[in-house]
């Protein structure tokens, strides 16, 4: 916290969408934010109408909405008019398949325009859209499709074959699978054939502001993943936060590098830039430092929203072979996913001539809640200050309620006052878990943080055992369950190990069953098993054999103790440890 703030020039301040933070806070109301959007012509609110159709209605249809950079080959552009036509067609495809409002349309796709078309087309029909992460293996994919009772899946032939086909028959709700890169075949429909036959005219279903629109999965410490439900009026927060926290201007070229399988990829990779009418870069390729620098330069990106792991990989590449490039178009850099370390913020000033602006939010909040702004000095390492319309506090759980901590620099749980439009409305089919998030009139985030005397918030850690790796929240229970399916494993416990690039990496401790030798061959076999079931994004990177796992007297594995031992930290309160605290 002792690092000097990075001051902003008068020019930065004058051109920012929010030139004066204090004034924006006092002038703000959600009604004013709502008035920034149109609403449906006949009444109602629909995300896809705000993102696409209203720009066409206002004569901005010719503007480029997406500039897609395929992994190989030439860029493809889609105007707002193109997107309007294509999303209407996809909505008609779904209507032809008798998909009713409220039914679930899932996507298992990479960063391709079909993702945008499927998401917005589904929203136009009143269906609920659920993006899945394409680096998930078959088990996480299946669990998420079962919980949400998927009715339609749009994906690629390869993902379908590997991750869905083997168990598809077990999911009775799944009526249709649409494949984007293959002709129709037995049991699956062809995207292009359907789209060619679909009409372009469509009346968008008159969804109400509180109708469910999006389903995003996030991990829990125990039990199954949680299906976070967002409604159509979330678009008000997407729009407002894109304007204030990402400082998007109408002529901007915007690049959000997040995968559409996560909430950032949806809220800020798809929705916010479209509602604000900017041009988005969509890059299909995987992270590659040279490619990324080339995209920033050649595509003349103005606003860039990325994640700490990628920033630290760029930093590493830069340290190896320093680049003397300039990025004159780049105006605003933002980061999300896990706290951005101060060194990375300071490095960005040297590397790009501008600091990264860290911000904080989570799947449940649907949009950015706390941020560093274009007009405000950046305190390296801080997540910034709450958005207009957002009331945040540091609280301590006390009995049945909470106590708000007003003393600066005191760690506690980060809490938000509910009521903003993109707040989750449910954990699907898990009402008790949902209710447990709210105590004493506050939404408790599960993140520990503190606020300094100037009102900047600082991340401290997680209040639970969830692991944050490369920006992805990973539930240890889901990983442990997959490990337990291996025939040689008696018990497993999973923790997050600090990592200079990914934030944390997943480490598994496993107890081998009697008769199995804990050697390199078995380690590889277990790793291969975990990667096959879970996919590379959540499978452990490190597997260690252990004789016994520390447990509480009630038999619960003490992951915290394993982690403390691993890191050589104090072991804390061991009074509940099985066998006593010797």
């Amino acid at each position: 916290m002792a690092r000097p703030p990075i001051a902003k020039s008068c020019d930065n301040v004058a051109h920012a969408n929010m030139p004066d933070y204090a004034r924006a806070i006092s002038d703000f109301s959600w009604d004013k934010a709502r008035a920034m959007l149109d609403g449906l012509p006949g009444g109602g609110l629909n995300i896809a109408h705000e993102a696409v159709d209203r720009h066409v209605a206002h004569g901005r249809g010719a503007k480029c909405a997406l500039r897609w950079l395929p992994a190989k080959g030439d860029a493809v552009e889609l105007s707002y008019q193109d997107l309007h036509r294509q999303t209407n067609k996809f909505a008609n495809v779904l209507k032809g398949l008798e998909v009713a409002p409220g039914e679930r349309v899932y996507a298992l796709l990479g960063r391709t325009p079909e993702l945008h078309i499927a998401a917005l087309g589904a929203l136009k029909t009143g269906a609920i859209f659920c993006p899945l992460f394409s680096a998930f293996g078959p088990e996480p994919t299946r669990a998420r499709m079962e919980i949400g009772e998927a009715n339609v899946l749009i994906t690629t032939a390869a993902h379908y074959r590997k991750k869905v086909a083997p168990w598809r028959a077990a999911l009775a709700s799944l009526r249709h699978v649409i494949i984007i890169d293959q002709a129709p075949a037995e049991g699956v429909l062809g995207y292009h054939a359907l789209m060619d036959a679909a009409a372009e005219r469509l009346a968008v279903v008159a969804t109400r502001p509180d109708d469910p629109a999006l389903l995003h999965f996030t991990s829990g410490t125990t039990g199954k993943p949680k299906g976070v439900v967002h409604v159509h009026e979330a678009v008000i927060a997407h729009h407002m936060t894109g304007f204030y926290a990402l400082d998007l201007h109408p002529d901007d070229i915007f690049w959000c590098t997040a995968d559409p399988g996560w909430v950032t990829g949806m809220s800020y990779g798809v929705i916010a830039p479209l509602t604000l009418g900017v041009t988005s870069i969509v890059d299909e390729g995987e992270f590659d430092a040279l490619r990324w620098r080339r995209i920033l330069r050649e595509e003349r990106v103005n606003v860039w929203y990325t994640a700490p792991t990628a920033i630290r990989m760029l930093m590493k590449a830069d340290a190896q072979a320093p680049q003397a490039e300039h990025f004159p178009a780049l105006r605003f850099l933002a980061s999300v996913g896990e706290p951005l370390n101060p060194e990375a913020v300071e490095w960005s000033v040297h590397a790009f001539g501008r600091p990264f602006h860290d911000n904080w939010w989570q799947t449940e909040t649907g949009g950015i809640m706390i941020a560093n702004y274009a007009s405000m000095d950046v305190r390296p390492g801080s997540m910034g200050k709450p958005l207009p319309g957002i009331e945040a506090a540091i609280v301590e759980r006390a009995g049945d309620g909470v106590r708000v901590t007003d003393t600066p620099d005191t760690p506690g749980e980060l809490a938000l006052k509910p009521g903003w439009p993109s707040m989750m409305r449910a954990y699907l089919h898990q009402d008790e878990r949902y209710k447990k998030c709210f105590v004493g009139g506050w939404y408790l985030t599960g993140d520990l943080a503190m606020r300094d005397a100037e009102g900047y918030y600082w991340f401290v850690g997680r209040a639970d055992d969830l692991i944050k790796s490369a920006g992805h929240l990973i539930g240890p229970f889901e990983v442990e369950s997959a490990l337990m399916e291996h025939p040689a494993i008696a018990e497993a416990a999973v923790i997050g190990l600090p990592d200079p690039v990914a934030g944390e990496v997943v480490k598994a401790f496993v107890v081998a069953k009697p008769g199995h030798v804990a050697n390199e061959a078995l380690r590889r076999d277990i790793l291969g098993h975990a990667r096959k079931r879970l996919g590379p994004a959540i499978a452990p990177k490190i597997i260690a054999f252990i004789d016994d796992l520390p447990k509480t007297r009630s038999g619960k594995i003490m992951r915290r103790l394993l982690k403390a031992r691993e890191l050589g930290l104090p072991e804390g309160d061991l009074s509940t440890l099985e066998g006593g605290a010797q």
């Binding site: 680096a135 995987e286 992270f287 590659d288 430092a289 040279l290 792991t309 990989m313 590493k316 590449a317 190896q320 072979a321 490369a470 690039v501 990914a502 990496v505 590889r524 076999d525 790793l527 291969g528 098993h529 990667r531 096959k532 996919g535 590379p536 994004a537 990177k541």
Partner: protein
């Protein structure tokens, strides 16, 4: 170190990261990251492991040459002069 030794090191390191993919099932011209389902972090770990075992430090500018097994094999041979 022979060419075969080098290929065996590549196979072993890929097997350490993605043991579920049989090295022989992948074409030498397939992209390593896609064929072995390896994310960018693991790809960097693969490069670091090759550095430790062969002494060849691959600069970022040459990552494009590490894309497939065949191109990585050829690149490392070139750097090692074998």
């Amino acid at each position: 170190m022979t060419k075969d030794d080098l290929l065996a090191i590549i196979a072993d390191e890929l097997g350490r990261i993605a043991p579920e993919v049989a090295f022989n099932s992948v074409s030498l011209d397939d992209a390593i990251q896609a064929a072995f389902d390896i994310d960018s972090m693991d790809f960097l770990n693969f490069i670091i492991a090759l550095h430790e075992r062969t002494g060849v430090n691959v600069p970022e500018a040459d990552y494009a040459r590490m894309r497939t097994i065949a191109s990585a094999h050829a690149y490392l041979q070139e750097r090692l002069g074998i």
